[in-house]
Symmetry: C2
Subunit: 507 residues, 2 copies
């Protein structure tokens, strides 16, 4: 069992220090975000200016905090005053402290000492200590946005813990864009007392969280991390991005978080053995986490590609074929016969199932149900949707709409797009198989009725077939790992030699 982080993510009451009337300062912004995003607990501000900020009276000191009124303290004050503030806050009932303030170990010898004192103090007072030098936390299930920056993400099932605040923001931005929300997010800052592993362990038991998503630059104790992650990944998939995999990146990491250089092959082998899903980029990591959060795990590596667009079928067949963890399923004979009965003979008669323009009103929903129900198919990629909605959009904004009888065709196209998206989500849920819908319209035309309907179904509309394949591949790898985890009891005493990297997945 890890540390209980409930007072951090679901505090009863929050108090912020360093609040002034300057709207560009961290204390002000944190107070603003706490009050603007729907947190229902009490919020207290502490600052040196008398009066009120954002209609909230400013307490002249933490001593004025009522007993038991706040469980979380967000520290936006300078190093020199924080220990005293924390001690007083703990006496008033505070159980968790997020230190947003910098000036600690990232700032040289004096800061290192101050950080050590902070850690000792938190231990003495039995406080959860997050940060210092972090952007903050969000916890959408309780409307908590205790951050010095934007945005506030929609609620969902992904728990984010990151050694870089930038990437917390990036994942929050993607959450807002795609509708695939977050359960919790935390910028670990210098992670003086609470590490990425601590957060992930707590997420694994958190009823609000289904998947962990993390960015790490340095790991103080590799063996400890490995053992804890091996246990976490049995309960919850964890997607990881590792910064500092090259000499150039390691130099940058040393100045960013003070992380020591490490052999990327060692990390890679460790992560794989521990069942962590490594992603090469922040974008790919979100794609993967969004997939874990919204799709059932596949039962095997076989993929069927359904497409109304021949070119997408070709490049997606390439992407699946060349993926080490996926295979392009040979089209089962009974499916071939069944599809033959639904389509004119010019369809591809192969996987990808390319309709080649032969579909009518019900073909796509019927096909989705047919192939999802087939026991020989593990996962489905649905491509080419959105084209009718795109045509409708050009018509709708053109000079001939709504006259000239164009309303009916526009409505028809838009209704069909919604049906396709709904059919994909339904067939996926009914048969407990991943069905991924991909189209560049996800980013190029988010108001396309197909894209909005995918979003409303709680699914992710993948911005390209290639990115859907990569995300599905990560899921298939994890599902295979769960079935036969390559567990070893602990890391060997010395770092192992180079571990071969499978092409593509880790790079």
């Amino acid at each position: 069992m890890g540390r209980d982080l409930r007072p951090l993510f679901e505090p009863r009451g929050v108090v912020v220090t360093g609040v002034s009337s300057h709207p560009g300062k961290f204390g002000f912004v944190t107070l603003h975000n706490l009050m603007a995003c729907g947190y229902e607990g009490d919020v207290f501000a502490v600052g040196r200016e008398a009066g009120s900020v954002l209609d909230r009276p400013v307490l002249p000191s933490i001593e004025a905090l009522p007993d038991g009124a706040a469980e979380l303290l967000v520290v936006c004050t300078p190093v020199s005053v924080n220990e005293e503030i924390i001690r007083t806050a703990a006496a008033r009932g505070v159980r968790a402290v997020f230190v947003a303030a910098g000036g600690y170990s990232e700032a040289g010898p004096d800061g290192i000492q101050a950080e050590a004192r902070l850690v000792a103090l938190a231990e003495e007072l039995d406080l959860v200590l997050a940060g210092p030098n972090g952007q903050g936390i969000t916890s959408p299930p309780v409307g908590l946005c205790a951050q010095i920056v934007a945005p506030y993400p929609p609620r969902g099932r992904i728990g984010v813990a990151s050694q870089s605040g930038n990437f917390v923001s990036a994942f929050q931005n993607y959450a807002g864009q795609t509708g695939i929300g977050l359960s919790r997010s935390v910028s670990a800052g210098n992670a003086a007392a609470t590490s990425i592993a601590d957060y992930l362990e707590w997420f694994a038991d958190d009823p609000e969280t289904d998947v962990g998503l993390c960015y790490v630059e340095g790991i103080a104790d590799g063996r400890d991390f490995f053992e804890r992650m091996s246990a976490v990944t049995r309960r919850m998939p964890v997607v990881v991005v590792k910064g500092g995999s090259t000499r150039g990146g390691q130099r940058a990491a040393a100045s960013h978080t003070g992380s020591l250089a490490s052999d990327d092959r060692v990390f890679d082998g460790m992560a794989r053995q521990a069942g962590m899903v490594r992603a090469p980029t922040i974008e790919a990591a979100f794609d993967a986490a969004a997939t874990f959060a919204t799709q059932p795990l596949p039962g095997g590596d076989g993929v069927l590609v359904l497409t109304t667009a021949g070119g997408w079928g070709v490049v997606t067949a390439d992407a699946v074929t060349s993926h080490p963890d996926l295979s392009l399923t040979a089209l089962p004979d009974d499916l071939l016969v069944a599809v033959d009965a639904m389509l004119p003979p010019r369809w591809s008669r192969n996987n990808p199932v390319d309709l080649a323009g032969g579909e009518t009103r019900d073909t796509i929903p019927d096909l989705l149900e047919l192939v999802a129900a087939h026991p020989g198919i593990d996962s489905i990629l649905q491509l080419g949707l959105g084209i009718q909605g795109n045509t409708a959009a050009l018509t709708r904004k053109g000079p001939f709409h709504p006259d000239h009888g164009l309303e009916r065709i526009v409505d028809y196209h838009e209704r069909q797009e919604r049906r396709y998206a709904e059919a994909a989500a339904e067939a996926s849920a009914t048969h407990s198989k991943p069905i991924l819908v991909a189209s560049e319209l996800a980013v190029a035309q988010p108001e396309n009725p197909m894209v909005t309907a995918v979003r409303e179904s709680g699914r992710y509309c993948y911005p390209s077939a290639d990115r859907a394949v990569a995300a599905l591949g990560r899921m298939a790898w994890y599902a295979a790992w769960l079935r036969a985890p390559r567990l070893v009891p602990c890391l060997p005493p010395r770092p192992p030699g180079p571990i071969p990297m499978p092409g593509g997945r880790w790079s």
Copy 2:
């Protein structure tokens, strides 16, 4: 010199066949798109129903077309009637034909014969013949949207030629999303008489086009393609996506465009020798083409990373360091001294130049100018912009704006974001060096003032640092190829053996 395709892309007058009052049919949609998108020439409709469609009188037959009134014929009628239509149209002054209709070589033996007759007829009549079985063409410089589908892209400098209509649409969608427009686009269909090479050769001499972007599945004559591309790429960069690089993709290509299987290593070696810039995905291909269309070529492989966001600095340093065609420039001593004078000591003192929050009002514009002017820096990646605008957005939509003195800070943040984007474009133009701005806000928050200002500057706001690095790498590779083209006079008589693939670039 290639074929003159001017009558296809800049026709004086267009006539469409197969126009009926059914708004879902190709003839109707093509007529609609021609009339809805700003084409200033005359548009004629031919169909079997008397009366008018979209307020345009429908000619009962092509015979009724006035002499010399239309140079382009768009054919949406069945195979059986098209030869006669084309002959009559040519007699009326038509110089180019786009056959959108299917039923030709993709449809079996009869279709193959019909396609051969079409080609012979076009030769006899000296017509440009595009298609058959293609989605159409767009030519924004003359407002031409002769397509059976949406969208119509904004005008720009990228010329698209594709063996898949889907990818024409995809590139058009990206153009609309990003503002990086197209000069011409054509779905080559079965490419019976006019091939991808023909289009690219014409684009290379087209004053409207700066970069070619193509998708190919099959190449009938590899040596001919190689020799022609080797000449084209001297005059214009060409980005290529190849479908059918695996057995799975080749089977799909055989049913999509009838392309024969080919050894991907042969294609890859050929493309490299010919100076073509190969991209692994449609998304990466657009990223690359948009870069060629909007950034000056770099003078060398050295990259400087400027960031206000430490995490992005780390992963981008990794991406640059591991890229075979880029290098992370060691920070020149005089730059270090100059930056020291601009920032408090906590900045990274290294490349990436991580400001670590030490910037003030003018730091970023000043820094951009400083590093762009430095002769030791070839290219710049600017990361971390948009954060202020993001914070402003949360404030702006919150309950305390516009009261509580928040207007000023919101305006300040938004103004600063615009300044940063403008400074990047200015420094790039002044010093003729690529400066790429990357942020997930490009897709997650397109209304962020940084994103809109990048767009208004005519530049591409890259959706991630990794994608910017990949695009810059393709540009650096091409720039190096131009300086020392690895030209060979022709392909060896037999296909060469496996050609080593540099890690990353082609995969």
